[in-house]
């Protein structure tokens, strides 16, 4: 008897909601990006679980997860570069205070 698929789906739903709470409630922009990373991980667990339980001979699920990895890496690189640049110009990382396009 293996782990049922529903356990993975419930786990990844919980991880996604924890990440969403972090994105919505945190002040620090770096912490907001951490919440986004948790959400992307929840999505990837879902993709791999569906690949394993529904179509293990069809590799598209894994290929999709690889694309999610690449997008997550580029997202975090650009996001952190933006935060560091904002910190240099405005001296803040609080998301509420970053409300001007040009300073």
């Amino acid at each position: 008897m293996m782990v049922p698929l529903s356990w993975y789906l419930i786990f990844s739903a919980a991880l996604f909601c924890v990440g969403l709470f972090g994105v919505l409630s945190r002040k620090n922009a770096v912490a907001i990006l951490m919440g986004i990373e948790l959400m992307l991980n929840a999505v990837n667990v879902n993709l791999i679980a569906f690949w394993r339980y529904r179509s293990p001979s069809f590799i598209a699920g894994q290929a999709f997860a690889i694309i999610v990895f690449a997008v997550a890496a580029s997202e975090v690189a650009v996001g952190l570069a933006l935060i560091i640049s904002i910190y240099r110009r405005r001296n803040t990382v609080v998301a509420d205070e970053i409300d001007m396009m040009k300073f």
């Binding site: 049922p4 996604f16 709470f21 990006l33 919440g35 690889i66 990895f69 580029s74």
Partner: protein, 169 residues
Amino acid sequence: MTPMQIIFILTAAATLSAAVLVVTTRNIIHAALWLIVSLFGVAVFYVLLNAGFFAVVQVVIYIGAIAILFIFAVMLTRRLMSDSGPQSNTNWWLAAVISVLLFVGLIWMLSSWRGVTGEPPVLKSNIDTIGLLGRALVSPDGFVLPFELASVLLVAALIGAIYVAWERK
């Protein structure tokens, strides 16, 4: 309860509690370290799902690159956001309500779908998923175009990141 289910429950509890600490801890460096614990738990899930390649990639890319990038970013932007003040904005209760509502909605949606129960198909012992994945990513019949697009996206994002973070004199 099979051993696999016990491992699943322990890993899920560790991963979720680390994730809750990531979004609630005041000290942002500690949040980054808890993020590493949480990502490692997800790597264990990939092992349980017979996706060993993804477990390795998770450790190498997420823990080795992304988490270290987070720690660097926290250290570069630390001085003004002290660890003593509140780290959540005033609407955090609204965020909690939205998250719980989404979770309840997802569980309700899953419980109304009949596909969630049942055993996974048995993997043939001679099936080579890593080889299949590698061939699918470079074969013209497979996913060579999305794969190349993802690599171009990654290069563009990294060049853009260097340009944005460059300190102009």
